[in-house]
């Protein structure tokens, strides 16, 4: 059994470690490229959202390389993600691929059953241990990236922070025990703090909200975080993989209470959960508006149902809280130059607003 999974940002590091711990042979799909995008778009329904096309592209590429089992996620709606696996299976079968698709539903008993399928012969203790290591890798990577986003806009030499973070993520990928993983992350964060910075700058603060796949996958979002950092903007991504896992899969208490706070914030604008991250996009915009952020960016795949609802409500939020919001909707046609132009214009606007506010204060 050669097991594989879809890409999403740095998720492959976590999943590879997890499945390897189960004693499976793991094959990571080739990194997302233009070819992945083309393959995915070619065989997908035309107006389906981008993550569907991209993950289908991943599956085709990795099946071509010899994988025979794919693990992906299920769901209970109303977001389309929950029904991806069923349709993708149909498309791949029609293309003639013979493989086993395991869709993990958000249901404990189902998840354990499927887990047993891929981890035969391992004791529960070993399984627990491999979850621990995967979890440690996930948190370590996210902590490094958070620090990177803070430093990148302040660094004196472009690219110096990025280099440290890349190297750290690669060593986390190879590390085998929890102590070592934490050590690598701590050293990297220490090194990042030591990076030579420009003196006395106060970068613009922009919050990034939207759909998780587009937010986490740099190939798809045209490296939004790096570009903004290099334009001198401190980016606060509101969702990392570890946040998602802790909130939705482990249902940690602090995340459940955070969700209640966010839902209460959003209630005057959106009174009910609409699937995906629509409610959170609105709530975080309100929250960050109150905290005095300079602007917000909402990034999502074209035709994403929950985010489109949020998009149609955000202008009112933006008006009420006096915080500019830029919405970027991505599909397979999104061009680099178009996104860049819009980003530059948005950042110029924010700089101007800041100057005007300072002048008014004087």
């Amino acid at each position: 059994m050669i097991i594989s999974f879809p890409h999403m940002g740095n998720m492959h590091v976590v999943l590879r470690s997890l499945f390897a711990g189960f004693g499976c042979e793991v094959m990571t799909p080739p990194p997302i490229s233009k070819k992945t995008l083309e393959l995915g778009a070619k065989y997908s329904p035309e107006t389906v959202c981008l993550p569907f096309k991209m993950t289908l592209g991943n599956f085709i590429e990795v099946l071509d390389q010899g994988a025979d089992t794919i693990v992906t996620c299920g769901g209970v709606g109303p977001c389309r993600l929950g029904y991806y696996s069923e349709i993708q299976k149909g498309i791949l079968n029609r293309l003639g691929y013979k493989f086993n698709l395991i869709a993990v539903e958000p249901d404990l008993i189902d998840a354990l059953k499927k887990l047993r399928l891929v981890s035969s012969g391992k004791s529960w203790l070993e399984i627990y241990h491999s979850f621990k290591i995967a979890g440690a890798k996930m948190s370590a990577i996210d902590n490094v990236e958070r620090q990177l986003n803070f430093i990148r806009c302040r660094e004196a030499f472009r690219g110096s922070a990025e280099k440290i973070a890349r190297r750290a993520i690669d060593s986390i990928d190879e590390a085998q025990d929890i102590g070592r993983i934490r050590e690598i992350a701590d050293t990297a964060i220490g090194e990042l703090k030591e990076v030579k910075q420009i003196n006395n700058i106060e970068p613009l603060k922009i919050g990034l909200v939207g759909e998780i796949y587009v937010m986490l996958e740099p190939y798809i979002n045209q490296e939004l975080e790096r570009r903004m950092g290099e334009m001198g903007v401190e980016v606060h991504k509101t969702m990392y993989l570890s946040d998602y896992v802790r909130a939705h899969l482990l249902k940690k208490k602090e995340y459940i209470s955070l969700h209640e706070v966010l839902a209460a914030l959003a209630r005057p604008y959106l009174g009910h959960y609409v699937g995906g991250h629509g409610l959170k996009s609105i709530a975080q915009t309100i929250h960050m508006g109150q905290q005095g952020y300079d602007g917000m960016i909402q990034a999502y795949p074209f035709t994403c149902m929950p985010e489109v609802i949020a998009k149609n409500i955000l202008p009112q939020v933006s008006k009420d809280l006096d915080i500019p919001v830029l919405t970027l909707s991505y599909d397979e046609q999104s061009g680099e130059a178009g996104v860049l132009t819009r980003l530059e214009a948005f950042i110029d606007l924010l700089k101007y607003r800041r100057q005007r506010k300072a002048a008014q204060l004087k």
Partner: protein, 302 residues
């Protein structure tokens, strides 16, 4: 003077409109409907961005009623069946109305959520009654009276013509809206086609057919569409062709359309996807319909 309740004629109005209208009349309120969709509805609905056409149409209907009524009836229908949702856009609709139309009358946006328990319906009915100033008993009695009229058919079309039979699969708010569907049912009948719509397939057949799906569909209307299509495709005398009608940017349909066309292809029944939006021109639409029906007529009888 009676209090006036405005009912936008869009989205779920095609499924439950008769019931709700009756309910308000039993409560002693005047119901003002927004009327059929027109070009102006579409123009007004374009205030919403990137969203599917039926959502824009609904918005247009609601905006039209804005100054004519005391209450706007736009319930947040989250779920109508256990374990299923309607559609995110229907769930978020009252909020999109409120944040985009200024000076709205009080909106009756009571949550209807039968996802966990069907008892929620009675709570919702009582809550609606409360907003318009009626007691619990009066509201529930009005609902009981209205419930007697639940089985009125949506479709007014009947009678067979001598020709191939086509399953026209699409949401009721799309295929029965004569403006946005370009009156597709009449056009097909005119071309000598027997049209079967998902509403003509009963729930038990749908349930039976949808057992062949690997995973239950969690949008109730899409569940019905897919189940009905499969039932019609696998019946003893299957339909001669399938037209899957969808509108651009409909989320669930993007997946369900693929599902239905996979099924149709596997048993060699012609299947066409017709995608429409507010820019669709009638001439192009007719050409596609004609090409498809000509092909079916030539194959018929086999």
């Amino acid at each position: 003077m009676l209090a006036r309740v405005g009912m936008p004629q869009g989205l779920l109005h095609y499924n439950y409109g008769i019931l709700w209208e009756r309910f308000f009349q039993e409560l002693g309120l005047e119901v003002i409907k927004s009327g059929e969709t027109t070009r102006a509805t579409l123009d007004c609905g374009s205030a919403l961005d990137e969203i599917c056409l039926p959502a824009k149409v609904y918005y247009g209907h609601a905006a039209k009623l804005n100054n004519q009524v005391d209450y706007l009836f736009a319930p947040r229908v989250i779920s109508v069946n256990k374990g299923q949702y309607t559609c995110p856009k229907i769930i978020g609709m009252p909020d999109m109305l409120r944040n985009n139309i200024s000076g709205m009358p009080p909106v009756i946006d009571v949550n209807v959520n039968l996802r966990q328990s069907s008892r929620n319906l009675y709570e919702a009915v009582a809550a609606i009654g409360k907003i318009v100033g009626k007691g619990k008993v009066a509201s529930l009695y009005a609902w009981y009276k209205a419930w007697q009229h639940r089985n009125q058919p949506i479709s007014k079309y009947s009678g067979r013509v001598d020709g191939p039979q086509v399953a026209l699969i699409g949401h009721p708010y799309l295929i029965y809206d004569r403006q946005i569907s370009m009156n597709v049912i009449e056009k097909l009948r005119h071309m000598g086609i027997n049209v079967v719509t998902p509403e003509m397939v009963n729930a038990s057949e749908v349930a039976q057919a949808s057992k062949t799906l690997g995973k239950k569909i969690f949008w109730s209307s899409s569940h019905h569409l897919a189940g009905a299509a499969i039932a019609l495709l696998t019946a003893k005398r299957p339909v001669d062709g399938v037209i899957f009608m969808t509108c651009f940017a409909c989320g669930p349909d993007a997946l369900i359309g693929e599902l239905i066309s996979q099924r149709a292809q596997s048993i060699n029944i012609p299947c066409m996807q017709l995608s429409i939006d507010e820019h669709t021109a009638e001439a192009g639409f007719i050409t596609r319909l004609e090409a498809f029906t000509d092909m079916l007529t030539r194959r018929w009888p086999l």
